[in-house]
Amino acid sequence: MGFKEFCFKKSLWLFHFGGASCNNCDIEILDCLTPRYDVERFGMLLVGSIRHADVLLVNGSINQRDKSRLLEIYEQASKPIVVVAIGACGCTGGIFAEGNTFAGPVDKIIPVDAYIPGCPPKPEAILAGIVKLLNK
């Protein structure tokens, strides 16, 4: 592992994109930043601007309106960026998969590096997914 890659993996900054979500996954993602789980010990921070982000966390089902916004966000990000789909809706569409306004799971729209299934996934599951991503 080179120096560049080492620095990148040691300092992943997260940007959180919530699609048409029921807010459960959003809450579980925020749980990871709380004292009990504390992802900052891996050097992760929640940033406010997509320009600073290294990881794009996408949760919730992506409907027709969200699709163009997700694409726009992905294009605005400075590369390299890692995309993580969180929750059943983000990974497959979940119960919204047959819906009228559903525009496809996240990996149909942008390339996804990691999937964390669950409805919602536990913070432990999100941490396990992140650790797997770090060891990839």
């Binding site: 120096f3 560049k4 890659e5 080492f6 620095c7 990148f8 040691k10 300092s11 004292p35 504390d38 900052e40 010990r41 050097g43 940033v47 406010g48 601007s49 320009r51 600073h52 290294d54 605005q76 400075s78 590369k79 390299p80």
Partner: protein, 310 residues
């Protein structure tokens, strides 16, 4: 010439101040984590952040904006911070004496990073960045007057000398300024000025992360953002060092004194961190009022007290 370059680039300028500042920034994050009962980031976290931004990330230029100014602003910020760092750290650490009137020069140089942030933000063409820029401008207008009043109080206490090294040597002879009543008041006001200069939490309206998505920094990515981080690390070391030099007798890196010097810096940064962790963000209007009314009042009281020798 070679000596000046060494001072500017390596010790005590760019490299030294940046490395110490990076460790102080880790200390700040670690204390923040402890205050919130978290574990906190590893020791070399600021270095990982910096090298990631510098080497790995792509730099994106704004489409509707002035690209040259956008890219030049962070470079000027680093230059301004390092030159201010050299002028501050040479007398504070007792390497060289500096020149007469260097306090005034340092005062002007310390505004350069904030000014360049504004210029870079306005050049990016982003409305949120423009909002952050205008807030930063208002913040500068409010705290600069307080800052110059504090310096005036210190000059008054030092018997009208405007040489930084003379102020420090006066304190080693007659005891530190922070030991007197007016010195304590000046110390408190100075701490709040540093807080606003570093845009830490009560006064972080220009780069409010949750409100306007990091405001003035919103469009920066990759190498220019690494430069801004570098400026922030340098400022995080030189402003406490300036405070210690003016009011607490400077730093001494000889023998056992090194421990006492490090403790001084860690104490000042601890104060900044605790203020940042125990206060909410104030509106820009409140911040202006806070400085123009209350902090100026305190500074003037301190000047009057020091006139009567208290």
């Amino acid at each position: 010439m070679a000596e000046q370059l060494f001072y500017f680039l390596i010790y005590p300028g760019l490299l030294f101040a940046a490395v110490i500042g990076a460790f102080l920034s880790w200390y700040d994050r670690k204390i923040t984590a402890w205050v919130q009962f978290r574990k906190g980031p590893p020791l070399f976290q600021p270095f990982y952040d910096f090298f990631k931004l510098l080497l790995v990330k792509e730099t994106i230029l704004p489409k509707h904006g002035s690209k040259g100014v956008f890219l030049a602003a962070p470079i000027f910020a680093v230059f301004g911070a390092s030159i201010a760092g050299v002028f501050i750290l040479l007398p504070v650490m007792g390497i060289e004496t500096g020149f007469k009137g260097d306090i005034i020069v340092i005062f002007y140089l310390l505004t350069i990073p904030s000014l360049t942030y504004i210029i870079g933000a306005l050049a990016s063409g982003n409305p949120l960045a423009a909002l952050g820029g205008s807030r930063e401008m208002k913040l500068i207008l409010s705290y600069e007057l307080t800052f110059i009043l504090v310096l005036a109080g210190i000059i008054q206490k030092a018997g009208m000398t405007i040489s930084f090294s003379e102020i420090i040597s006066l304190q080693t002879l007659n005891g530190v300024f922070a030991g007197s009543l007016s010195g304590i008041i000046l110390f408190i006001v100075f701490i709040f000025c540093i807080q606003a200069k570093l845009a830490l939490v009560p006064f972080d309206a220009p780069e409010a992360e949750t409100e306007i998505s990091e405001g003035i920094m919103i469009e920066y990515s990759g190498t220019p953002y690494a430069m801004i981080k570098l400026t922030k690390y340098i400022m995080f070391f030189i402003l406490p060092a300036f405070l210690i030099g003016l009011l607490w007798g400077g730093l001494n890196f000889e023998g056992i004194n090194i421990l006492w010097s490090i403790l001084k810096i860690l104490f000042v940064v601890l104060l900044l961190t605790l203020i940042r962790n125990t206060n909410p963000r104030v509106k820009i209007k409140q911040a202006i009022r806070y400085f123009i009314v209350w902090m100026n009042l305190l500074a003037i009281i301190a000047i009057v007290l020091s006139y009567f020798g208290l």
